[in-house]
Symmetry: C2
């Protein structure tokens, strides 16, 4: 049977090369932050200014620590691995470590790396490349519970919100799984499907594969993609919404985002109650009882005083928990979710 | 520059092989019905029971008639061209005719055909394979007017309705173009993009390419795909809706369809006013003035008496023209469209 999900074997060695700053190593930083237990160490070239605080490892250290996968945890300029990183990656592949990356330039298109991996039996895993064999969605309702992050736009904190909500559920010993739909999320989760890279006919089928039948008291916390409001990516978002058939959604927003990004200012973001209403109408085509468990807002540009005022006003307008997942935490949303999910 | 649209050169020779019945030659029949002026003739194997009423042609006849493209206008069992058809297709490709097909088995995967075409310079055109170089959608509002067919489900007459509406506009000397989004539509139009075969991130970008800027008084009549209600394909439908940024939609429905097809009966089709309302809410995220110009219903299973009663009741409930595109025609919808489009 073909895998219909990408899967990375832990523990990981995070490869940073000589990436110029932490911004370009966001993926690695995210993995180290959310899954420290999977990160055995980091490997860097001389003079790399970025340090994720993990044990520094040589190839021999990594082998001794039982590392299974080397994750290229950076987003280099131009989406390609710099030439001077390649010899080290080839040595790692030749030593049998799987190599995973999420760049535009594929590992599978680097002949020397492919040769080394094929000789040692290591896998090269391009997390932007969807697995083969994804079926068309069926709409069959699955067992278990699901909560999906939906956004007012791209890059408003859907991945962070999902991870924070998942952590909050875990803290309460509630059975739950974070389900990744984008490249960084997949590297953090160690598995997932890059939903926006799937052929259009199979979007909801991919989402169905991603959160299969589960125990009745198990929650899948599903990373969102794009936005129903974003004219570039709304198809991805609706296919993911329908395939996820969520019991609840969480609206993710950036308080500074006044209009849809990248569309030249033609698309102001509507009032959040309208956004929630539209999303629920679409969600309820598949699962009639779907509700919104709260709003998770990036308010990092506000001081505490303005944040409190903003979130309080929003919460009294909408009548559901409104939080900043970093500054105030996901506890109220988790409470609301668990209280009202049937 | 790479083509971002499939394009077939007319005139056509419709190749039918020895297809067993008209049902399996629906594509060819559609081309002959809607674009007789592009169809120079038909070519069949001995004992082919299907006759599209076009001039019978040999390879020499086709060359003399200036045929540019041979269209395999059939849907063979299993999606593959039968072995005994291949020698004739190879001779046609070797003689320099482009070959177009829309089957699951690709022409590009038939080595002898590829060799013959490459030697003669003929093109092999798989209309299920999207063109390369489709960009991400931008949401930029384009000039010209657009009307998109939206469906209560798959296979409810969206292509037929679009073609009939386009013909009605042409009859009135209104500038208009039929825009094809599926394989049969592409063969009829001679161009288009198979929207459901595009990678998810590029659905709306493909739709934007398909109906570019145009004269202010020009109408693009756009073939729909899937349905916002269909859990398997809703992502395709929303991406197409947003990329098409229609001024108006026409709802297409099959009067016998009580529930979404292929989903095990879990999804009854809602009242049509709700379906229209949902579609307009989504459409108006991009173009605020979008309206529904009518409902086009396949009532072929009804007698005249029941059809009249059904369409009258629907029209009085919805307050917009409700027609059967075959039995009663698209005139009322064209009238409504032209009267209320700003």
């Amino acid at each position: 049977m073909q895998l219909t999900k990408i899967s990375l074997a832990a523990p990981y060695l995070l490869y940073l090369g000589d990436v110029p700053d932490l911004h370009h190593a966001k993926t690695g930083a995210g993995i180290a932050h959310w899954r420290p237990e999977h990160c055995a160490g980091q490997m860097r070239l001389p003079n790399c200014p970025v340090d994720l605080g993990l044990p520094e490892m040589t190839l021999q250290d990594a082998a001794a620590a039982g590392v299974k996968t080397v994750i290229v945890g950076v987003a280099p300029m131009g989406g390609a691995i710099p030439d001077h990183w390649i010899p080290q990656l080839i040595r790692l592949a030749a030593a049998g470590f799987d190599i995973a990356a999420g760049m535009h330039m594929k590992l599978a298109d680097m002949p020397d790396l492919v040769a080394a991996a094929s000789k040692s039996g290591a896998k090269l895993i391009d997390v932007r490349v969807p697995p083969k064999g994804i079926p068309v969605g069926t709409g069959r309702l699955r067992s278990g519970k699901r909560v999906l992050m939906v956004g007012t736009d791209c890059a408003v904190g859907k991945k962070y919100s999902a991870l924070a909500l998942h952590r909050e559920l875990e803290r309460r010993d509630i059975k739950s799984t974070f389900r990744a739909t984008g490249q960084t999320g997949i590297m953090i989760a160690g598995e997932g499907i890059p939903i926006d890279a799937v052929v259009a006919d199979f979007i909801s089928g991919a989402a169905e594969q991603l959160s299969p039948d589960n125990d009745d008291d198990h929650w899948d916390v599903i990373e969102g993609q794009g936005s129903l409001l974003n004219p570039s990516y709304s198809g991805v978002s609706l296919g993911l919404l329908h395939g996820s058939q969520p019991n609840a959604i969480v609206l993710c927003h950036d308080a500074m985002r006044m209009e849809i990004d990248g569309c030249g200012g033609d698309y102001p973001i509507p009032e959040l109650d309208e956004v929630i209403d539209d999303a629920l109408r679409m969600a309820r085509l598949i699962r009639k009882q779907c509700f919104c468990a709260g709003v998770s807002v990036n308010t990092s540009q506000m001081d505490d005083f303005h944040r409190d005022a903003y979130l309080s006003r929003l919460q009294s307008e909408l009548g559901i928990p409104c939080v900043d997942p970093v500054a105030t935490g996901m506890t109220p949303i988790a409470n609301f979710l668990l209280k009202f999910a049937p």
